[in-house]
Symmetry: C2
Subunit: 174 residues, 2 copies
């Protein structure tokens, strides 16, 4: 599969009456170079780009994330942090879903081939065009339950799993 590049972006933007700007190109490229399993908030992206010497204003970041999500290039994730995260919207077989611990916000990615099929089927049935389809599993770790969750944990308590290990990673089903 050839890489989706600036020319493709330009072409899709033009189709909807929009222009290719250096800002949009850099933002897309940034996501394309991000390792699998990473997802960023608007603020994260703003700082990451600033560190690279790319000064793109926060308003432009927000506008671009929204537009690219609507174009189906990015996915908007509603995990448990109180703000949205974004990642590249990759087709099958990279399409994946998220399991989140609602106490410590640890996020685990997993793949499942039948979910996307279900999504397509449901959208078709309603005569709609699918943009994205996400299974989000909210769960709680036994450590937190043992400590009296959902009410007794101080909000700053961090699940010991989180302290040791991986924050995210892709896991293939079965």
């Amino acid at each position: 599969m050839a890489m989706y590049d600036a020319a493709d972006l330009r072409s899709e933007l033009h189709q909807i009456g929009c222009r290719l700007t250096p800002q949009r190109e850099k933002i897309l490229k940034f996501f394309q170079n991000l390792p699998q399993g990473n997802h960023l908030s608007a603020e994260d992206l703003y700082h990451a780009l600033s560190q690279r010497g790319e000064n793109i204003s926060l308003s432009t970041i927000y506008r671009s994330l929204k537009l690219m999500t609507r174009m189906g290039l990015l996915r908007e994730l509603e995990l448990a942090e109180g703000h949205k995260h974004y990642e590249l919207n990759q087709p099958y077989p990279h399409h994946h879903h998220h399991l989140v611990c609602v106490q410590c916000n640890r996020t685990i990615e997993f793949t499942n081939t039948s979910i996307l099929k279900t999504g397509v089927k449901q959208a078709e049935k309603e005569g709609l065009h699918l943009l994205d389809c996400q299974l989000t599993i909210h769960a709680i770790c036994p450590e937190a339950l043992r400590r009296g969750w959902p009410s007794l944990l101080p909000s700053h308590w961090v699940c010991p799993r989180t302290l040791n290990g991986t924050v995210t990673g892709v896991i293939t089903e079965n």
Copy 2:
């Protein structure tokens, strides 16, 4: 199946060191009496209860929604309106998922038995306790695509489908 009532709520609250208050009881009862397929924002709930003469402050509404979601009694839905909606978290076979048109916010519910199984399986694999599992499908209607979506539509444009019909309803798969 016997109805989950005030005594059950009291018992579950006590297990986690919380108390049964008239406010919490009324909020739960309100959701239990809501027709299938309805979901409310915090503000919606506040106004609905006010109309019934139940003056529960907005802060209490927010706190109760959060607590009850963490207890697994309610589900927090992230649809496309810019704020959260809540509904009763009902077990199989009432457990369902949502298809949303990102332009007009029309929401369609559908059931699918295998998704919940996938959720349980994934949570178990990580040694976590499942709280909720939601497949959210984002889609766009052909009317909006024809009018140049994602960029050219005025934000106040309403998809003609929305004007005619049902806003939500439960659809059973197949």
